[in-house]
Subunit: 356 residues, 2 copies
């Protein structure tokens, strides 16, 4: 059952479970402040492939394979894969799952794609359309630079507000909640044990609206996305009748330093102080010395920070109640060149740890 | 409730209703065999805009606005919009809904996007995640040619197997089924009457797998997609224990003449004769004299043929049971240039007319 709470929040009466999760990242991402908290760190950002696009697809494939292994599952156990990335026609994702023989639904939510897939996946599992599914997202610095910006060899100067597209991928396997005696629970008792004793579930979801405030600078996506994050988080808190302190952690992905400051400022005007529990995946991923300017971005950034450090902290009981609010900037090189404004979007899920 | 039937078919116990539908097409499309059966035909394929991308977005906006008008609804009545197109980063769709103030979920299923949105939308409504939502898709010959092929002024010769990207858009408003006394039914009694007396519902959905048979020719998408359509349709028929003649019409979108022939051949090898009830949106849209070679394609082709002629025929009682099987070719200009194979995908919904 799915209940509608307040204006836009969905509550799952039998919350879909996160059966497993995996994060695969590039060399630079593996050397940052979150070092040692990912499942896979490549030393070769080409992943042994002939092109950056194939490298990104291989990275997403690695995250998917690892998540399935951790759940003790085969691809054939999945009812569907929801996946997306930043590449034209979502190339990284469809190549990653082309041979999977699993129903595939391409998602495009820019950098909010992981949150979109999780919110949608929770609705599909919570509503009975799927018993087990996988949500994945990826990005790659080199495939993104080539497509969105300048050739790397050009050596262009990046602006201070620019974010660094993460070479990263994340995958989550979602299954039915506790009250349904599904195949998922019977087959995977062993696999689930590996994920820790406490069950980790998606209890609520909120689909975001595009919010457009006139930003046209593709090198300041934080400013374009912050108003959407404000819209989603203030709606979610109001719908739940909750305060920020009711959560152990509220994380956006990926506003970066500039967008995160803007979000805190916007909420402060409503007398909501998010700062005690707030983090941003883009700010967490890279250290100051890593020359990432305003922080990380890309579908893979929030996907890998969630599927690595954050869900590991939930398994360990360090975080019991998390809001994961994925943010995206709706733009294309063509729309920006044509002077169209960049809209932000932000989809959110509430993830809770229950049990021991 | 959503039941799982056979291997992969979903059955909606309270089938989501198609509250309204609208199709908007370009000049050439409006002059073809389906002339007079669309809601809007533009005489200016630029739609008064400065770029082809904005023209496509305006066409999708027109389909969305018309569908809402026909249902007697406002945008604010929608819980979400599911939309997609062929442009990089799904530009046509996010620009069309940027100011809508409705939660937005970008979909990418290449030319199968309308079917993906309908199948997903039916799951969201049927599973209780949404009461009313809109699914839309579009394509534009000029924006697609520029992005995928050659500059038009180059005057390149098209191959016989090439399809013609339709300048077209379609939109469907889905609402809860008959047994739920939702807002949708109370508010829109007047609007629903305009759609005819019989209720038109989505009764079943099947999400497709990518099927890849080694095709690498982007000018022969019919061959790339036919095996996926075969996979989806033969699974659907087996799951339902049905014969082709149990349906008034089984329509794929958009295999074109080449792909449609291949599909019939593949099914014939399994002793399934689809031909008495079979059509293809790509074959229906253009006449032989319109120089469209193997037929129409593009997300907007199947979207407009469904939302125009096919659903009008259902309203009129000429078609009572329809399988709409949207086909897509998973490729990007980059993946093709890099020699990657093109996978086909095919999502299907069963649409039935009940009542008077």
């Amino acid at each position: 059952m799915i209940e509608h709470i307040g204006r836009r929040t969905l509550r799952f009466t039998d919350p879909p479970r996160i059966l497993s999760h995996a994060a695969a990242v590039g060399k630079k991402e593996g050397e940052g402040p979150l070092s040692g908290r990912f499942d896979f760190v490549t030393q070769d950002d080409r992943m042994g492939q002939k092109s950056w696009e194939l490298a990104e697809s291989e990275l997403q494939k690695t995250a998917i394979r690892t998540a399935l292994q951790k759940a003790g599952m085969q691809k054939s156990d999945l009812d569907m894969i929801l996946a997306g990335d930043l590449l034209n026609q979502c190339t990284g994702s469809f190549l990653a799952s082309m041979q999977s023989d699993v129903p595939y639904l391409g998602q495009y939510g820019a950098c909010s794609t992981m949150a979109q897939g999780l919110a949608l996946g929770a609705c599909l599992v919570g509503g009975g359309a799927a018993q087990r599914l996988l949500a994945a997202a990826s990005s790659h610095f080199c495939s993104a630079e080539r497509q969105y910006r300048f050739p790397l060899a050009y050596g262009g100067q990046r602006t201070p507000t620019a974010q660094w597209t993460a070479t990263a991928a994340g995958a989550v396997v979602l299954g039915e909640g506790q009250s349904r005696p599904s195949r998922a629970k019977r087959d995977n008792a062993a696999g689930l044990g590996k994920q820790g004793d406490g069950h980790i579930c998606i209890t609520h979801a909120l689909f975001g609206k595009m919010v457009e405030m006139g930003v046209t600078d593709a090198n300041n996506m934080g400013a374009a996305m912050a108003p959407a994050a404000y819209n989603t988080l203030s709606t979610l808190l109001a719908d739940l009748g909750a305060q920020p302190k009711d959560f152990d952690c509220i994380v956006t992905g990926d506003l970066g330093h500039v967008g995160a400051d803007l979000l805190l400022t916007l909420l402060r005007e409503d007398r909501i102080d998010l700062s005690p529990v707030y983090s941003d995946c883009g700010s967490l991923l890279f250290g100051d010395e890593q020359d990432a300017h305003a922080g990380g971005s890309g579908c893979g950034c929030s996907a890998a920070v969630l599927c690595g450090p954050l869900l590991r902290d939930m398994q360990a009981g360090k975080i019991k109640r998390l809001v994961f609010a994925g943010t995206g900037a709706m733009m294309s090189p063509t729309s920006v060149q044509q002077g169209q404004p960049i809209a932000g979007i932000c989809h959110a899920v509430v993830i809770e740890r229950s049990g021991a």
